[in-house]
């Protein structure tokens, strides 16, 4: 077992965790804002720009640049979509700065978003929007954004720590500020402690503790688990967004859970249950075109009714639109399904709701500062901007806007900061011991545990929840956590040892799963993504509260805090009088 003396130690000024939209933007803005000579380091669990979910963005980016659209309208949609739970200052800044950020992406970073034939930006509308607002690059918007950002970062003198996994946020001796971050250099299998004056955490959440999930494989809630252990308050932790149509291809393939795009339903795709019937109109007058949460619940209800292990999900069928037409319009999706053996154009494909996005996260102010000096959080790791529901297209807007804000804020704050802080060596030692724990135990089957956790979360803390279910869920999670602590990993060679990282992934996921269940119990109403069968009503909007979870010692406590309607109150609007309710042509 390495002693602390064997840890590689390393100093920098600005340290950024993660290379999604938030991390990469932060690096670029930090370079623009920080005094010359500031050392910037970017550390990531995978390869720069090649991991995380920003790259996987398909639909696009919400920005109020479309004809007739306004920041006010975007803001109102965000508040209403979030069922009045969003932090309004954050939501406002999101909508306002998205305009700047998209111009920056186009003019400075080099993205090219799809155009109308006259050369102006093309905008489309996701469900839940009252204007055509989403800019995109075909259905591979994330690749365009991340590739361009990645090039900008790679070609600047920014220090890179690739395949470096953050495992602990280490405070200074008196706990008043952050000293640095403990990593595992995954390739070497060694520990590395990096001190920095400011640290941005942008590890992107990612609800991958569900049986079906969309995010990329490197995302396992490490960030939120680290924040929890540091004692930071987390909000909206019960809010897990499910995408209604994840591919169902069996539990032996990593393809399962991956998204079949929203546009399929928008274009007229039909959902068919086990008895061959369309069912969505039983749940909502918009049928398949209803919002994500509604469709997810519809599908989930049908699945429960059926309860057939042979045919778990429902089917999406496009064939009535003409296979050639479908092939042309959804080229990428059709090819992707074909690669995994399904015919989307002419046949039908089995789908399930799949955990997609995590609205909860660390409490931050609208400049990304947290409760502890030196730590900043942006992107999916930060809570508040979306409330109970994230609109399609607001995710990448959020990560890029706040990543940039974080870079600027760190660049400014660092001017006031003196020397690097010394770490609390006992916390450092404890984190190392924690990570090395499995190498002292008898190797076991980690995948089995992960499957148990994913089933427990899907069944008990999933699309539809009850008090009894979540309590059962908590019991399972606790058992799984205990079992994990007794499960070992062959530690003879820790270099690029994926199984060790699977163990660490499980540790983060189990910790955060518990918080999700506890926060779910604390919210006794149904808002957005959180649906309680025992409390199906949204409750009084005026007295809306959000949940705040915090770990003290070994226990997680969840409280409630009143939502501040700092810009607009329920029942009111910031839109000028006489504005139409929606600008989107109704089908």
């Amino acid at each position: 077992m390495p002693r602390q003396a064997d840890i590689d130690r390393h100093d920098t000024d600005i340290l950024i965790l993660g290379t999604g939209g938030a991390g990469l933007f932060a690096a670029l803005h930090a370079r623009q804002s920080a005094p010359p000579g500031t050392k910037i380091t970017i550390a990531v669990k995978g390869l720069i720009g090649k991991c995380g979910c920003t790259r996987m963005v398909q639909g696009g980016y919400n920005v109020a640049l479309g004809p007739g659209d306004s920041v006010e309208r975007h803001f109102m949609d965000t508040i209403q979509g979030g069922k009045w739970l969003p932090d309004q200052d954050m939501a406002w800044k999101l909508c306002e700065q998205a305009v700047v950020r998209v111009r920056e992406l186009e003019n400075e970073i080099g993205c090219f978003f799809d155009r109308e034939s006259d050369g102006h930006l093309h905008h489309k509308a996701f469900a839940g929007q009252t204007a055509d607002r989403t800019v995109h690059k075909g259905d591979l918007t994330g690749i365009e954004i991340i590739n361009r950002l990645m090039e900008q970062v790679l070609s600047r003198p920014i220090e890179r720590l690739q395949e470096h996994r953050a495992i602990g946020l280490i405070p200074n001796r008196d706990g008043s500020a952050l000293a640095g971050v403990l990593f595992i250099d995954m390739r070497a299998g060694k520990f590395r402690f990096v001190r920095a004056k400011t640290v941005l955490m942008a590890t992107g959440g990612g609800p991958t503790m569900y049986k079906y999930h969309t995010p990329s494989g490197d995302k396992t809630m490490d960030g939120l688990a680290m924040a929890l252990r540091l004692g930071l308050p987390l909000r909206d932790m019960e809010m897990v967004q499910f995408h209604p149509t994840g591919l169902l291809a069996g539990d032996h393939t990593r393809m399962t859970g991956t998204v079949l795009e929203e546009g399929l339903r928008g274009a007229g795709g039909q959902l068919i249950n086990h008895s061959g019937q369309r069912f969505m109109f039983d749940y909502d007058q918009k049928g398949e075109r209803a919002t994500r949460d509604v469709v997810s619940r519809g599908i989930y209800t049908e699945m429960r009714k059926n309860n057939d292990p042979e045919q778990e999900g429902v089917f999406i069928s496009m064939a009535h639109l003409g296979p050639d037409n479908v092939r042309r319009k959804f080229k990428g999706m059709v090819k992707r399904c074909a690669d995994s053996g399904f015919d989307l154009a002419a046949g039908k494909v089995e789908v399930v709701p799949t955990a997609h996005y995590f609205m909860g996260g660390v409490i931050v102010d609208s400049d990304t500062r947290t409760a502890i000096e030196g730590l900043y959080v942006a992107g999916e790791d930060a809570g508040g901007a979306h409330g109970s529901n994230r609109l399609g297209g607001n995710g990448v807007a959020n990560s890029t806007v706040y990543g940039g804000v974080a870079g600027d804020t760190m660049g400014a704050d660092i001017r006031k900061m003196g020397a690097l802080r010394d770490a609390d060596e006992t916390v450092l030692a404890a984190e190392i011991e924690r990570a090395l724990r499995p190498s002292a135990k008898k190797p076991g089957h980690i995948l089995g545990l992960r499957q148990k956790l994913q089933t427990a979360m899907w069944d008990e803390v999933g699309v539809m929840r009850t008090e009894a279910g979540m309590k059962r869920g908590l019991k399972h999670i606790a058992e799984i956590g205990d079992e994990l602590l007794e499960t070992g990993v062959d530690g003879s060679n820790l270099a690029f040892n994926l199984t060790w990282h699977d163990w660490l992934n499980m540790a983060s996921l189990t910790e955060v799963s518990e918080v999700i269940a506890r926060a779910g119990l604390a919210r006794e109403n149904s808002r957005g993504a959180h649906f309680r069968e025992d409390f199906p009503e949204p409750g009084d909007l005026e007295s809306s509260y959000f949940t705040v979870a915090r770990q003290t010692g070994d226990t997680v406590g969840v409280g409630r805090e009143q939502v501040k309607f700092s810009i607009v109150k329920p029942g009111e609007t910031v839109l000028p009088e006489g504005e139409p309710e929606t600008l989107v042509a109704q089908p």
Binding site: G119, I143, N147, Q152
Partner: protein
């Protein structure tokens, strides 16, 4: 099925054989994952998105570079046997994980980043999507930098300094991007030795690009553009 997997690191290695149960809807990534999760916990490989967007998972499958998360076993299985190795033309880190830095270093070296002519305070330019330049730029834009073409190119194999198909394709995109402020500079870079003129149009890149892109054609475009530019400037 019988799966031979390359095990080792930069100092060398050998194939080890595993017996993996066949399943419907099984990709090469699933096969490799199965081995790590059920048979040999020390196996190293790389993936992220699992749906063909991140370009982290490419490996040599039966001697051909492929994205493994989107390669169905059925498509490549030969006599119930499979052979999986790390991507060639790149250094190996461990087992199936290659070091992709040289690939990205060339992406940077070619000048593959946007040089802005405008700022975030300017309006977004109206650019019709169907001009020939824009269509040329768009043709290569969906590159996921997976390195499959780079591993497939025997010119890279012979000349490790050659910029390679993906970086050159990026250069071609930029040359056609009217928003880019330094297009001449890119032409100079690719005209130098180790640039576009090393390409022998052997087409491995185009044939194997999992996204159906055509770097060979992009490089031909560069050759033409540099040549034209050369004569225009006289000598």
């Amino acid at each position: 099925m019988e799966v031979a997997v390359w095990r080792g690191d930069e100092t060398g290695g050998r194939y080890e054989t595993f017996d993996v149960p066949a399943q419907d809807n099984q990709t090469i990534l699933d096969v490799v994952t199965w081995i790590q999760q059920n048979s040999d916990a020390t196996l190293t490989y790389r993936f992220a998105c699992r749906v063909g967007m991140c370009g982290s998972c490419a490996m040599m499958v039966n001697g051909t570079p492929r994205w493994t998360c989107r390669t169905h076993v059925r498509k490549v299985l030969k006599g119930n046997r499979l052979q999986v190795a790390p991507l060639q033309n790149l250094p190996v880190i461990k087992d199936l994980a290659a070091d992709m830095d040289p690939f990205f270093d060339k992406w940077v070296r070619v000048g593959g980043r946007h040089e802005p002519g405008k700022t975030r305070h300017d309006q977004i330019e109206a650019i019709p999507p169907d001009t020939p330049d824009r269509e040329n730029a768009d043709a290569g834009i969906e590159c996921i930098n997976c390195s499959v073409c780079y591993a497939a190119c025997d010119t890279v194999r012979g000349n490790p300094d050659y910029l390679g198909p993906a970086a050159l394709q990026r250069a071609w995109t930029i040359v056609n991007d009217e928003k880019h402020a330094g297009r001449q500079q890119i032409l100079n870079t690719v005209a130098a030795s180790d640039g576009c003129f090393n390409c022998h149009s052997m087409g491995n890149c185009t044939v194997h690009c999992p996204n159906g892109l055509d770097p060979m054609n992009a490089i031909a475009g560069l050759k033409r553009a540099v040549t034209k530019n050369r004569f225009k400037r006289g000598g």
